[in-house]
Structure formats: C-alpha cells, structure tokens
Symmetry: C2
Subunit: 536 residues, 2 copies
Amino acid sequence: MNHHGGQIIAGRPSSEGQATFTALDPAKRQALPTAFHEATRNEIHRAATSAAVAFRDYRCRSPQDRAGFLQRIADQIENLGDVLINRAQQETGLPAARLIGERGRTTGQLRLFAQLLIEGSWVDAVIDRPLPQREPLPRPDLRRMLIPMGPVAVFAASNFPLAFSVAGGDTASALAGGNPVIVKAHPGHPGVSELVASCIVAAADATGLPEGVFSLIHGPSHDVGLALVQHPDIKAVAFTGSLRGGRALFDAAMKRPEPIPVHAEMGSTNPLFALPQAVRRRGAAIAQGFVQSMTLGAGQFCTKPGLFIGVHSAELEQLLETVGKQIKALPSMTMLSSGICGAYFSSLTRTKCSEGIRILADWESESNSHTEQHGASTTSKAAALVVEARRFLKLPQLHEEIFGPASIFVICRSKQELEEVAECLQGQLTATIHHEGDDLKQFDGLVPLLQERVGRLIFNGYPTGVEVCHAMQHGGPYPATTEARSTSVGSAAIARFVRPICFQNCPASSLPPELQDDNPRAIWRRIDGQLTRDPV
Amino acid sequence: MNHHGGQIIAGRPSSEGQATFTALDPAKRQALPTAFHEATRNEIHRAATSAAVAFRDYRCRSPQDRAGFLQRIADQIENLGDVLINRAQQETGLPAARLIGERGRTTGQLRLFAQLLIEGSWVDAVIDRPLPQREPLPRPDLRRMLIPMGPVAVFAASNFPLAFSVAGGDTASALAGGNPVIVKAHPGHPGVSELVASCIVAAADATGLPEGVFSLIHGPSHDVGLALVQHPDIKAVAFTGSLRGGRALFDAAMKRPEPIPVHAEMGSTNPLFALPQAVRRRGAAIAQGFVQSMTLGAGQFCTKPGLFIGVHSAELEQLLETVGKQIKALPSMTMLSSGICGAYFSSLTRTKCSEGIRILADWESESNSHTEQHGASTTSKAAALVVEARRFLKLPQLHEEIFGPASIFVICRSKQELEEVAECLQGQLTATIHHEGDDLKQFDGLVPLLQERVGRLIFNGYPTGVEVCHAMQHGGPYPATTEARSTSVGSAAIARFVRPICFQNCPASSLPPELQDDNPRAIWRRIDGQLTRDPV
C-alpha cells in the first residue's frame, strides 16, 4: 500500500509544507519509506474551518446517519485486513496478536457508539411540563437534552496505534456526539494513521456526510498541536499521552480568549496494595500477576501498575524475591520508539539514584549503561526497585510515572504507614487492592482513602485491561487527567463532547425528535422527575 | 439582630484581621452599623483545611443525613422571619416582595436537592455484570456511580442576596453532592450573609455534621477570593458575577499545580429576536413585555434581555416608539450599590458614544450628566438605544453586557442581516424568539444558529425568570460561563461537584448501597445497558 504522506483535509490529501519526517521501525531500527509532511498553519486553518462548516450540517444528522457512519468506519478498517496490521507492526513493534486484538477493540468501540446512538437515551432528555395555573407565576414548558459542541481536536496516543488513535475512542465518541473531528496523528505511526484516516474519509463519502467532518494532520513538533488547540473553530480537545504534553495543551486551551474543555488522560502510577492475608495466601500468584501486568506491552500502558505497596513480612520478602526472579527471566522488549525508550532509561536512572532505593531486578545488572552506549535504542528490559515507605513518603520523584516496564515496591512497617502512603498519592486512573480473609476490615481506612484519589478501584485484579463498556471510568483526579468528571473509555466518553440545551415553550415543529411529545425515538426521558418511555 | 462581623470558620466566629468594611444601604445611601472583617490568609487556610477534614466524614454520610441537613437549613432560614428580609432590604435596596419571593426560591432549592437525594437515582449508577466465560478474556464486574469531589468554594452574587448567595443554588448543590462548602460572601450584603451562614451552622450542629462542612469568609478585595481558589484543599469553584471577576478566578484556578473546575456564570446579553409577523400581530405586547423584562430588578439579572433584534418595518418603528414611551415613563430605580450604578453609567456612556447609535430613551434626556454630579449615586433610569445591524456587526463593544436597565435595539434590513447578527453572537445564557404564523419557517436558519450559541432557547417569552426544576439549563458557551456543560440552576447543578468512580470486582461489603446487588435504595440503574430498578 502506498502512502501519500500528506495531511488529509476535508477528504483531500494536502502537502503544503517543506518539513517532513519518516516513520521508524523500532524493531529493525530503520526508517520506513514515505516522507510525511508536517502540517502548515494554513493547513491547520483549513482543517478547522472546514470542520466548522461541516458542523452546521453534521450536527443536524439523525442518530441513524451518525451510527451508519461509525459502522461504516469499522467495516472499512476491517476491510484493510493485513495491510493495516502489517504497517502497525512495522511502525510500533507491537506483536500482530496484540494489534489484531486492538483492532477488534477499535471496531467494537465504533459499533458500541453506533448502538448507543440508535438506542438514543444517552441524550439525557428531561421534560418539565408547564403549570399554567401556578401562582404567583405559571411554569413554562421546559425541555432539555444534550447537543454537540463543535469541532473536536483529538491527539492520538503512541501506545495504542488503533484504539486510542485516528479512529479510537476519542474520535468515535466525538463523532457520535455530532462533532466533526480533526486528529493530530501521532508521529510514531503516521502510516497507520493515514490508512485509518482513509477509512473515515471513505465512510463519510459513502454515507453522504460533509467532507469537513474529518481531517488528519501530521506534525512531530509541538507547534502543530498548539496551533490546532488555539484555533477559534476548535471547541474541545481530547488527548492521551504524557503529563507534560497534556498540561501544555491544557494551558494553551485555558489561555484562549474563549477557553475550551481539554480532556487529557495523562497516565498515573496505578498503585497496587497487597494486604497481608492476600500476600500470605496468594503471594506467588500476586507476584506473577503483577509482573505480567507491569510488563504487558513493555509497560507502555497508562494503567501499568507502577507502584506496589505491601506490609513488611517474611511472605512479602518471598513475594519480592519471586518478582525479582521473574523479571530477570524476562526477555528484552521492543519499545514503541527510541524516544520512549530513552525517556524510560532516564526516568529509571533518576529513580535508581534516589537515596534508599534497593534494586530488585534491573537492566544494568546484565548490560551496563546501555543507555549511553545506544542512544537510539528501542530495546528495554523490565526493572523492579524497592524502597521503604518512610523514604517513599519523603521523595516526591518516586511518585511520578515511569512509562515502561518498571515498578517500585514500597515496604510499609505498619498499617498506619500504609495508610500514609495511600494518603500521599496524587490523582490516579486506578488503584488496586489485593485482599483475603478480613484484610479489608483490618485496613478499613484504605477504600475511602483510595476512593478520593482514583477513577477506578480494582479488587483482586490488575489495572491493565480497560473494558470498553457502560460502567467503565477511565479517568481520575489530576494529574491522571485534566478533567476527573470525564472518562475516555466506555460509552460515557460521549459526555465529553456534548452540552445541555433547554427549550422553553418551543413549538413542536422546532423541537428535536428526542423532546417531542410522542417520543418518536422511544427513548427514556425524565418527565416531571420520573423516568419513563411514555409520551408526554 | 446583632452581627458579629467576623468570618464563620467551622462553626465559630473569627475576626483576626484589621481590615474592615461596612454594608451600605443603597436606598438611603448610608453605611449600616457593624464592621465586617476581611478574612486573613490564616483564616482562609483554616476554613479550607477544616473543610478537607470534614470531607472525610461528610462524604460518607447517607443521603438521608444530607437531605436532613438541607431541609434543616431551609427551616432555619424561614425561622429568621422578617429579620432576614429587613436586613436584605437595607443592604440591597430590593423590595420586600421580591426578597420574600427569593427566599421561597432559596428554601425551595434546598428542598429540591433534599428530594433528589432521597430519591437517589441522580448518582447515575451503571452496572455491567461479569462475563466469566468470555473469550479471549473474561469481563470483570464493573459498577460506576458519582461521588463527591471535595471542598467547594462558592462566590456569592450581588444581585440575588439569597438565591445565589450563602445558601443559594451553588451551596445547596455542592452540599447535596457530599462536598463541604466555603462561601466567599458578597460585600454588598455581609449582614444577610452572616444571618444565613448562622442558619447553616445551626443546621449542621442540629444534624450532627462536622463543623468544617461549612465556612463563610468576607473580603471586598480580590486577594481573598484568589487565595481561596488557590488553596490546595479546594477542589471546585462556583461563581456568579461579572466576566472580569469570573475570568480572573478561572485563570487562577487553571494556573494551580492541580487545576480545578470553575463553574463561573458570567452573564450575557440574552438577545431577543422579534420576527416580522410577531411584530405585526403583537408589537405593543412585545414592547411592553420586553421593557418589563429588561427593567425587572433594575436590569440586574444575568438573563436581562440586553439585545432586541428585529427587521425594519413600519410596525417595528411603532414598537420602538412604544418602547421609548414606556421607558421614559418609568420611575428611577435603586441599584444594588453605587459601584454597580457607576459601572452601569460608564458602560452606557461608552455605548452611547459609539458611532451610529440613536438614543430612543435615556437618562440624560431628563437630568443631564447625572454621573458626574453624583459619583456615589445608586439611582438609575432605564435606557434604550437603537443601531442598524450593519453597524452592530462592526462594533464588538455593542456585544458586551450592560449590567443594568439598558438594552440595544438592532434593526436589520433583511433576513440575511438578521442571520448575520445571530451568527456573530458570542455564547449566551439565553436567546429568545418571538414568532407568529410561519415566521419560523421564513427564518429557518435562526433556530439552528442560536442553538449553537445558547444554553436556553425561549419562544414567545422573556428570559428573566429562571425556573428551578429538572429541565432547566442555566449556562451556555463562553463568555456566558466558563463551563457550557454545566448548569447553575435546577437539579442538574449537582453534577458540577461530583465525578464518577468505577468499582471492579468489588466485594459486596465494600460497595456503596447504590451499587449493591439488591438495590437497597431502590434507585434507577443501568444494568448491562438497560435502565431498571430491579436488583442485579
């Protein structure tokens, strides 16, 4: 498959700029053909204004039309077959099985939102009937529902080239909500991005949607992303990536003359608390499960458990020993890019130099100072570090995410110390508790403390593996995200890109179907405070 | 009733600082007794940390406990009787009848949220049952609901000394959501603030809640508000007031190491479109209704219709003439404070000096340059200005809110010009359309254009009078608010101060009642995508 390497603006390739870059194969450490063009200011402007024009049309399309569009995108992605998987493998180094699974997740997400649209109740229709006789003043007829906000800028993630990228959850939920989307492709997989973008363009064409409903722009430099976020036609931003990147876009969006919401998912350390009876009864299994979870996808998941917290005991020491052995036995792993690999080594090195850190299993033990030898390396190994809770509490640098297959094991000397660790945690996407017997009763302060700090609380499991469903919450207090009230996974993700409007005494002919008396879409509505599917 | 004039921090009066101010009677233009103390940094810190401590307890209280608290606050406010109304009249110059109505609205709001808590379905419980046999991986048990965010800073408004002040909608919805509240009192009515705060303190005491659940701080200077917003224990902000004030708090909150949501309602011009057939058939009635709405409460409502847009015709000229006559016939009005009155005159003067503005009815026509003669005046009169649409489109200063009883009448020469005016509007709390016959068909672009720009769209009515109910949306795109996805009036206002959490494979003993299998609170829940009140 040939790539044109340009932006795709309102359905058409565009390569105005001189600056180009290539995709790199992290496994072979070599550049892939095709030069991709960085978007110019003018291209960004055209993408944004086309989206604003398309919004006028797209926002009025029926749920069936939007659902058909999403389904068609899923079909098109599947039709690409091995071409997509092969290119994704080349650009990311991720194994084919994983990418095939991720493709299923991506098309599943698109179809989940299509279903949501067809069912229709997500618009949260609320009707308060008029009270014309009320004294001193009558109550008018008031009807409220969710409507789209306008063009959304989506920043693709490096670590999910399909499910959190061009046609990933952010794009699916924004399009489902009735908003045009401009994706800023991740420079790590521009070819995959172009392939998937062409699916969206084809689907828009096949379903008769305006071309501006979707655009794709490229740009390894921060300027492209900032220019997109600063464009007045952009009305919301979704981002998955690093704290630094997310915060920079957030700051730019907040400084706009018209600030816009930024839903940035920036990862976290995802602490796992292994309580004493669980460690006693299932120490070896927890060790194995934890190592699997922290090294899955070379630790390049935002839900990677980066912290393990336990109470000192002989069994915990044994668990740590098992962890150490398992990690040492793991083969080396190809990371997504040399940049990510380099950042992993830097964070790890910084962390290892912290006072009081004990190395349980580490890279350097086998091949010394690999970092310096291979500046452009993409090969990492897992690492496990141990620290006493007393020290952990004093070293804020240990509370930061290490993106890659490394975790810190925090040893507490008392229940109180364990609660202090829980209390000092920043906002997290997830926290996990392993418990057996009356562990939860013994540590009854833990669940409330963690609830205040996390988006998802997992019991006797592992945080990696984020189910796409209605009940999922993939989000959490800052710095896990910039908006704890939203989720970027699951059907509730649509809520990020819609806002309520209230119609007062609106004539039937101007009311959207969702608010009409006879409830033509047969959706659930709250009428005078009561949920019902009955007509008014 | 004696006032102590201090802050109320976690139930106790506190007057640490030296800086004091007094309340002013705008009708008599004289200072009222009692010196009120501006909060010190230390007092702000104590209020915030007390709130954080109280949060641990308050967030776990049952809905019945929280509902009882809100009901008790309402009872206490009613028990104050005339003392409250008299002081409010003294401090604001608003008529007793209006204040009695506003008190009813305030206690009604508190009781609405109490009802919402007791009914319970607002927590948006979503349950996806496990699929242990699913291939390739089982689905875990996932359960999601809304939980409180932490201490909320509420900035009281000047223009609603009860309903948008100490125990107003922001406080009621934040407390209902399970969050402690710190109110920054409006310096325009510190005595009323102290009275109402004492009701909340008494209610917390009577219902056995932690003292830190509520504090009141005073401070006419911006520093007090900024220090409160910047305090790390504050997790959300609600504000009603000016664009400048709201934006300053928003900017401060966004620059925090941990940014927090700011729900600032900053008013708007609330355009009213009078379409030709409506003007023909009901011109005089529209003139009268509009003048009443724009001058209600001396024009000091965030929903005051500040723009009137019509298409040139003989009937429109007649309507304008009627408006002019009615406005000239109105008596002068006491504004809330000399500061607000002064700002009104300044905006009005600036607007009048714009090129192409015709004065339909105005203050100066009767008593020339009142502004200069009475710098500390609190007495205003209504004003109406007329401008051609062509000019309006070119003068951004005419698109800004004038807080007070003045409106601009924009004359369009064509349907296209009217749509251009709609298109150039900034974000609005409301827009209104007056229509008759096939007006809406003739102007079929108008409803979609306005939908993109407003929180509430009113037909054949007036924007003042914001119903407190489930379907209300009191919000809108920037600059009407800093968060178009939220409302500050109605039961949905609670959504501002809560966020979702997901429990994965959580043992029954650790699940909140709302998510337990047998649905002990009998609330509506979405189980595997279906709304039901059945057990799991």
